[in-house]
């Protein structure tokens, strides 16, 4: 019953979307006033999608196995929490969430832009509806989340245990709120171009709609990184896995976009560049969805499915990209700003240089991610690209990037301001070098890359702290907290990554019960083990005593054997020591008394990485606090 209502509301919603598109064309082609219920129809289509999503959630919660998606991905044994979050732990449910968020952004846009020029407003909604319509068709025709199964099975197949984690509730929705959210600024761009309102005011308006999804995306990626760290037991925070890269690509593009839209807002420059970045950001978000959903990748995110859907998504992406480019080419020439004449060492100059660096990083990540796929499509060869590829190419550019991030904000718009800042910048360089020398002596590491990484990130951090501490005469409200927080966060991130890279330790061993295994300053004793029965799994828990420089810590990693589906997961045990972590993941064994294999990691300054993610996210949130000197 619920499944019928769910499907019917999706169908009605797509009919309404089609009707909205027709109303728009009628207005544009034949003149006459726009239908008075245009926006009301859009809101109705949003509510219908929301209703069908809620119904799917209910079906998962009550384990309605007459629905294929529920049957294949749920089980009555599962705790309530995972029945609920399991809604988006599969292809159909996550696509429905995807569409719900496209629609939600349109809905929010209508709420917050009541004062906006009428034609820009309805044209933007027209483009947002087109996106919604295309994806609704895709959902209903190829991946109906309410598809039924008969006879109704008594029991479901269960959810992949790796996904049975509290973060399943947060990570996918935030990631989607991020990259699907860029659909709105994409529609806004097309709306602006079509109605000839792509100008400085557009930049002022678009800023908010870039910051919002960017903040969600940053947070979503951070959550994913944290999840991989403690749940998958791989001991690290980033693996340059194609799926991780899929989320990083739109992040880099949107970060470049945030900065270029600021230049557009302040100096009437970079009109074309901003337009291209807007299209690129959304297309990369869709491309990420394609990579993950098409099943061509080997990853926890690929829900082993039908590659045909991948082809459909590829077709939709091409369609959207081509239409956007055609509109851009036809319309952009009429409304370019003052493109020429960048002044050396002005604020916009440093932003443009950083934009080039971001595009370079984006190119590197895109090539590394797509090259193996293209190669396997066109030749018989199957390859993968190792993490060293990314590390060696990106590291030197990150250092330059950090320095520019430190210098840029001290420059003035439209003015060469190197001379007036020379003393300040020299003092930043000196103080960062002194602190770096101290760090290098204390930690006894004189590696060149290490020193460079620490010095450049400290330069950025010092420049941010100085700005905050020195300008006493500026009122608190006038600070650009958004920039200060996110830039400081990025500085700390690179600092933490450098420290983690050079000081982390990892080793694997097998220890007999009661025995001790030593590695450098660590001594690990396997002191005890016991087993436990969970709701839908059996658990074997080990107890390890770790001695480091006379201090003793007890870690209790475990291994879970899930029954539906039958699979093992490692539950890591992590104990913090200031900013660093001691971390043990345990191996499965049928006979624990003969010893268990473990992986031990000492993750230096890993908590600083989480802290940096939080700082950058806070920076994004603070962009919504109105500053006093802002119009």
């Amino acid at each position: 019953m619920t499944s019928n209502i769910g499907l019917i509301s999706l169908i009605i919603s797509s009919i309404l979307s089609l009707f909205i598109l027709i109303l728009f064309f009628k207005h544009v082609l034949f003149g006459g006033p726009l239908h008075s219920k245009f926006f009301a129809l859009y809101n109705a289509s949003f509510f219908l999608i929301a209703v069908s999503f809620v119904l799917l959630v209910i079906s998962f919660v009550v384990s309605d196995f007459s629905i294929v998606a529920v049957y294949e991905n749920s089980h009555t044994d599962k705790p309530f929490f995972y029945k609920f979050a399991g809604t988006w732990g599969n292809h159909e449910g996550s696509m429905l969430l995807f569409i719900l968020i496209i629609s939600l952004y349109g809905y929010l846009f209508l709420i917050f832009t009541k004062q906006l020029n009428f034609s820009l407003r309805f044209t933007t909604i027209f483009f947002q509806t087109s996106l919604q319509f295309v994806f609704l068709l895709f959902l209903i025709l190829t991946s109906n989340p309410f598809e039924k199964i008969f006879p109704i099975p008594n029991q479901g197949l269960g959810l992949n245990p790796i996904l049975q984690d509290p973060l399943l509730v947060l990570h996918p929705p935030f990631l989607y709120l991020g990259y699907v959210g860029f659909s709105l600024v994409f529609s806004l761009l097309l709306g602006g171009l079509v109605t000839n309102q792509y100008n400085q005011n557009w930049a002022g308006l678009a800023k908010r709609w870039i910051f919002l999804p960017w903040t969600f995306l940053t947070f979503g990626i951070g959550l994913g990184s944290f999840w991989a760290y403690y749940e998958l037991g791989w001991g690290g925070y980033w693996f340059w896995d194609p799926v991780e890269n899929a989320s990083l690509m739109p992040w880099i593009a949107s970060t470049a976009l945030i900065h270029s839209v600021l230049v557009m807002d302040k100096t009437k420059k970079l009109f074309n560049w901003t337009a291209i970045l807007t299209i690129l950001t959304f297309v990369l978000s869709l491309f990420g969805t394609f990579l993950v959903r098409s099943g061509i990748l080997n990853s926890v995110h690929a829900f082993a499915n039908d590659p045909e859907r991948g082809l459909y998504i590829l077709f939709i992406i091409s369609l959207i990209t081509l239409s956007a480019l055609v509109i851009y080419i036809l319309k952009s020439a009429k409304q370019t700003g003052d493109e020429n004449g960048f002044i050396l060492f002005s604020r916009e100059f440093s932003i443009v240089v950083n934009n080039y660096l971001l595009i370079f990083a984006l190119t590197v990540v895109t090539i590394g991610t797509t090259y193996p796929i293209l190669l396997s499509v066109f030749t018989e060869e199957s390859i993968s690209v190792g993490p060293q590829y990314y590390n060696t190419i990106l590291a030197p550019f990150v250092f330059i990037f950090l320095i520019l991030m430190g210098i840029g904000p001290y420059m003035k718009w439209n003015k060469n301001s190197f001379a007036i800042n020379r003393n300040k910048l020299t003092s930043f360089v000196l103080s960062s070098l002194i602190v770096t020398a101290l760090v290098s002596l204390i930690l006894k590491n004189q590696n060149f890359i290490f020193i460079l990484g620490v010095a450049c990130s400290l330069f950025l951090i010092i420049s941010v702290v100085y700005e905050f501490a020195y300008f006493k005469h500026i009122k608190l409200k006038q600070f650009n907290f958004a920039r200060l927080f996110s830039h400081a966060g990025f500085g700390f991130l690179i600092l933490a990554i450098t420290l983690h890279y050079f000081f982390s330790k990892e080793f694997t061993t097998k220890i007999q019960l009661g025995e001790t295994s030593s590695y450098q300053e660590f001594a690990i004793k396997f002191s005890n083990y016991f087993s436990k029965q969970g709701k839908n799994y059996q658990e074997l828990i080990g107890e390890y005593e770790i001695q480091k420089n006379g201090e003793k810590v007890i870690l209790k990693p475990s291994i879970r054997k899930y029954s539906h589906p039958q699979q093992f997961t490692s539950e890591t045990s992590i104990r913090g020591e200031w900013l660093s972590d001691m971390y043990i993941a345990m191996d499965y064994t049928s006979d624990a008394s003969s010893g268990i294999g473990i992986r031990f990691y000492y993750n230096y300054s890993i908590r600083l990485i989480w802290l940096s993610y939080i700082l950058i996210t806070i920076g994004g949130l603070l962009s919504f606090v109105q500053r006093k000197n802002e119009k």
Binding site: N298, A302, F360, I383, G386, Q388, T508, P565, G597
Partner: protein, 149 residues
């Protein structure tokens, strides 16, 4: 040439040179860090032993996993049901690494039949077959519909 043309021309030349340098840089780094995949049949057909890191994938042969006395060290056989590759691996076996299931091993080849494994890739769910392994089984003519879930 007018000054404006000169300026544009020099801008064009500089960006072309920059582009080429950066392109070469990316290309070299990509070449140096590419890991090729082979099935056991591919390996047996090779005339020359590949150097550096490679990946070998197939099914873990039933009853082939053996634990050595040494600290967490194992040997096992990867098969595409036509040819076998022997693997020696030091480290822990991932939870999803099981006999009869698909796995991909990254390591260095000692000779055409013997791989020193460094990393085991098995991080998907229990029904999922790595695409490379499915391809290897299809190539060796031993693909079975049951493997598809």
């Amino acid at each position: 040439m007018s000054p404006a043309t000169k300026k544009r021309l020099s801008f064009f030349l500089i960006s072309t040179i920059m582009f080429l340098i950066v392109g070469k840089f990316i290309y070299n780094s990509l070449q140096g860090n590419t890991v090729y995949f082979f099935s056991p049949t591919d390996l047996s057909n090779l005339s020359e032993k590949p150097n550096g890191l490679i990946r070998v994938g197939g099914l873990v042969k039933i009853n082939s996993i053996q634990e050595k006395q040494k600290n967490a060290s194992y040997t096992f056989v990867i098969t595409d049901l036509k040819y076998d590759t022997y693997v020696e691996y030091e480290g822990l076996l991932p939870n999803l690494f099981q006999e009869g299931k698909g796995a991909v091993i990254e390591g260095v080849l000692k000779d055409k039949k013997f791989l020193l494994g460094q990393k085991i890739l098995a991080k998907h769910d229990e029904n999922y077959m790595p695409p490379e392994v499915a391809e290897a089984l299809k190539k060796s003519g031993n693909w079975n519909k049951n493997y598809d879930q």
